[in-house]
Amino acid sequence: MGKGRISISKHIKFAIIGLITGIANGLFGSGGGTIAVPAMVLLLKEEEHVAHATAISIILPLTLVSAFIYVSNSYIDWSLTIKTMLGGIVGGYLGAKLLNICPTRILRKIFAVFIIAAAVRMII
């Protein structure tokens, strides 16, 4: 890639990825990574593992802003948040370990089935 100069079309791509990721992450309180990672891979031709790591660096500041807006509108339940977070910390550690052992393809399918079923229940 050329040094320094970035084309206009690249700026437009940055703007689209940023806006959509930010809006989704703020509106749904999640999903920023699900949008930013494939967007960077497909539109910016970034490598998958770099896109993953870079997505976290993008979504973290966005999440701080969104969390601030939610909390300042008193959409917050600290007890619920802390209890869930404790599980999350243990789970995050286990997940990273399991990644080396377990076939994620099957897990992804189970995951997809679960969220489709959950989605239907939430829409109806």
Partner: protein, 129 residues
């Protein structure tokens, strides 16, 4: 205990690089039944410490492309402000339904996308083997 288990499942899933929020939010809504806004706020706050830790590791391993981070974050902050303002202004029932539609799209995307990619990865693995 239920909350801990929901957190645990979401943590495992997100540790694998699959969207943790897509499990955490519907699991909370369906099993614990808080307001949709609260479930989303739990996920936002949940993400912060996990992301900080992951990011430290990724930065050390030089996996973060800051040339992309900075311009995307500038536009992203505008989006985050708009999206969050919209979320807090919506009634919980509507937000829950919109979230459901978003989740449905994610579910089908996840269902359809992965096979192709996994085959490729397996091919690569076979080549290296």
């Amino acid at each position: 205990m239920l909350l801990f288990l929901i957190g645990l499942a979401s943590g495992i899933i997100s540790g694998m690089g699959i969207g943790g929020g897509a499990i955490l939010i519907p699991a909370l809504v369906l099993f614990v039944n808080p307001n949709q806004h609260i479930a989303q706020s739990v996920n936002l706050l949940f993400f912060i410490p996990t992301a900080v830790i992951a990011l430290i590791v990724h930065i050390k391993n030089k996996r973060v492309n800051f040339k992309l981070t900075i311009p995307i974050v500038i536009f992203g902050l505008v989006g985050a402000f708009l999206g969050s303002r919209l979320a807090v202004s919506l009634p919980g029932v509507s937000l829950k339904r919109y979230f459901g539609i978003f989740l449905l799209v994610l579910g089908f995307y996840e269902m359809l996308r992965k096979d192709k990619k996994k085959n490729k990865e397996q091919e690569n693995r076979n080549e290296h083997a």
